[in-house]
Symmetry: C2
Subunit: 379 residues, 2 copies
């Protein structure tokens, strides 16, 4: 007998009430029943994104909304500045390059946040930059980028858009789209929204819609302008992922009931406990500027991260994420966003200590859970 | 108290065992557990598509796989012949045009099937046609196109691919990809596969993969070559719609257990009963060459189809589809694919008679269900 604990940065665990809602008989997407659901979803997404702009909902993983943000808004040959400090920064670059944009890569050491002054320098020296692309959290490194500070710079440039992959961000910490003048904000269902993967969301500012008017890139399924027109009628351009939309309604109700401030405070508290717990185990944090969504942990040289992840999963039933690309085997990533609670974290830290012990690495087993418990208890 | 009956050509009803499987705690997509699921799915998709070619699985609605079929395989300026006999034929045209292909539209009157000899004429007269695009079933009209006959023509042209939107086709009637030399076959989850919308599938022949090598169109999320490489490792290029994949495993098990021949025979029988029932009610069929997936019914002049659909839904709990575009209000479409059984059809025909009566149209109420019952009973 083994209980399963999921602490990965997507998919995250799904609350049972959402699972059961999605298991109800399916409804047709061209019906008043669906339109009522979708209208509520649209309204509550405005709350979640803190925006007056429509939030488009697409049947795809988050990457689809990233692609749509490029293809629907930019044009061939546009020069764009991409913050590249991990796997998802790379993804922005790849998508932009695929569509023939001219990418200036702002390379950031994996594990570090981008320095906003570097962005300012680029924008000052090069009047032709049409977009700044970044992540809210670079999920591959656990770093949170200074979105607010970057956006304060970008908003002074009329011909430049601020495009944020907030797939790991929205619903975790404060990313107020309108207040911060963000032009494109993207998220996905399998993170703070506590849903299975399969939905992507994107919101677009007036400034960015102006760009979209002149966009000359090919797009069909990820055509934001077309999707906006459909949304205004409480419909979707193509058959929506109905069961996930039903789940989204439920998730948004839960989030609204909790309230954004409480939601952010809960994630902050959990993240603080995670960091304290990891440090108390004697392990250093990997991210210089750690996100409240997940805690990336640098492993001692003698520990093979792949083996550790496998051991935690197979022996203890605890699934966390390992490192990606050149960080494979070198870091682990413990997620604490969405439907992951105090005691899930305690379990993860408890299991982590045990597994390291199994691998012959000497840790003070109890210190991790002790430190985390103290933080969780407000001490 | 009202029971709800869904007889639309997507989404179709979902068997309770599949709903419950999808409601189990979610698993991570980079885990041996997921890879085991996905491997079984991949194997059983070969059975369903009757092919040796990998069947790619995408997190999107069927349209995404249509777009990928164009963007991943063709090149800018390619001349293609598109069978356009309804809303989904138009969709092929729109996608091809969006990507800068040169579209020759083979216009077919809505409600009729394409004449293969017209395709042969085009191919003979124009050596530069690189693809023939069609639907297996044109879902907007209920017509089945003669795929086998068209494919027999196309296979003689080395530089021409046969691309089939079998979204309403695979799992309903025989579309043996390899035996018929089909080059691209696309389907979606919310039809014969009895799942919620949100998954698209596409299979690509060796001949078409050769085209893909030279494809110069931009693609990222719907990049078939990249997805093929991932699939070979039992993975997906981007976060898959995990819960739907879990459902897909279950659906494919059910289909395999029933066997394709039984599956096709069941749909054939149900379609025959639907047609007999509708005709016995005194209503003509709309499709000259009706698909076994759905029955499109031409309504009498005096009946407003939109009102009829609404009445059936609100008073009787029966959801069928109306007409699209210029057929709005003029036809209804009763689906009988996937998890729709004999008695679901009987209910639909029974309710249809009652609703027409409510609207003051004189029908012999019982004749529809009588005729259908007789067909279902093998008489």
């Amino acid at each position: 007998m083994q209980k399963i604990y999921l602490l990965t940065p997507g998919p995250t665990p799904i609350p049972p009430n959402i699972l059961l809602k999605m298991a109800e008989p399916i409804i047709h997407h061209r019906s008043p029943q669906y339109e009522e659901v979708f209208q509520e979803v649209r309204e509550n997404l405005l709350y979640l994104f803190q925006t007056k702009n429509e939030v488009l909902v697409l049947a795809s993983s988050g990457t689809g909304a990233m692609e749509g943000s490029v293809a629907s808004i930019f044009s061939r040959g546009d020069r764009v500045l991409v913050v590249n400090g991990g796997k998802f920064g790379q993804r922005w670059e790849q998508i932009c390059s695929t569509y023939g944009l001219e990418v200036i890569s702002l390379d950031v050491t994996w594990g570090e946040a981008v320095d906003p002054s570097l962005i300012e320098k680029h924008l000052k020296n090069d009047g032709s930059i049409r977009g700044v692309f970044t992540q809210a959290t670079e999920t591959s490194t656990g770093v949170v980028h200074p979105i607010k500070e970057i956006a304060e710079i970008v908003k002074n440039y009329e011909q430049t858009l601020m495009v944020v992959d907030a797939i790991t961000g929205i619903g975790v910490f404060d990313v107020p789209m309108d207040q911060w003048n963000l032009d494109v904000v993207v998220t996905g269902s399998q993170k703070a929204l506590m849903l299975p993967p399969g939905l992507a969301m994107a919101s677009v500012s007036d400034k960015a819609w102006q760009f979209a008017k002149n966009s000359d890139l090919p797009k069909y399924y990820f055509n934001f302008s077309k999707e906006l027109a459909s949304a205004k009628k409480n419909q979707n351009s193509y058959t929506p992922a109905v069961s996930l939309i039903i789940g989204l309604r439920e998730a948004l109700r839960m989030i609204k009931e909790e309230g954004l401030n409480n939601l952010f405070a809960r994630h902050e508290r959990l993240a603080s406990a995670a960091r304290a717990g990891v440090l108390a185990l004697g392990l250093p944090l990997f991210a210089k500027s750690p996100s409240n969504a997940l805690t990336a942990v640098k492993l001692p040289q003698e520990i093979d991260g792949k083996k550790l992840v496998k051991l935690l999963r197979d022996k203890y039933g605890i699934t966390i994420a390992g490192g990606q690309d050149h960080l494979k085997g070198k870091i682990i990533r413990i997620a604490h966003l969405g439907y992951i609670t105090d005691f899930d974290l305690i379990i993860a830290l408890s299991g982590l200590g045990m597994a390291l012990g199994d691998m012959g690495y000497s840790v003070n087993l109890g210190e991790g859970v002790k430190a985390a418990t103290e933080v969780l208890n407000g001490q």
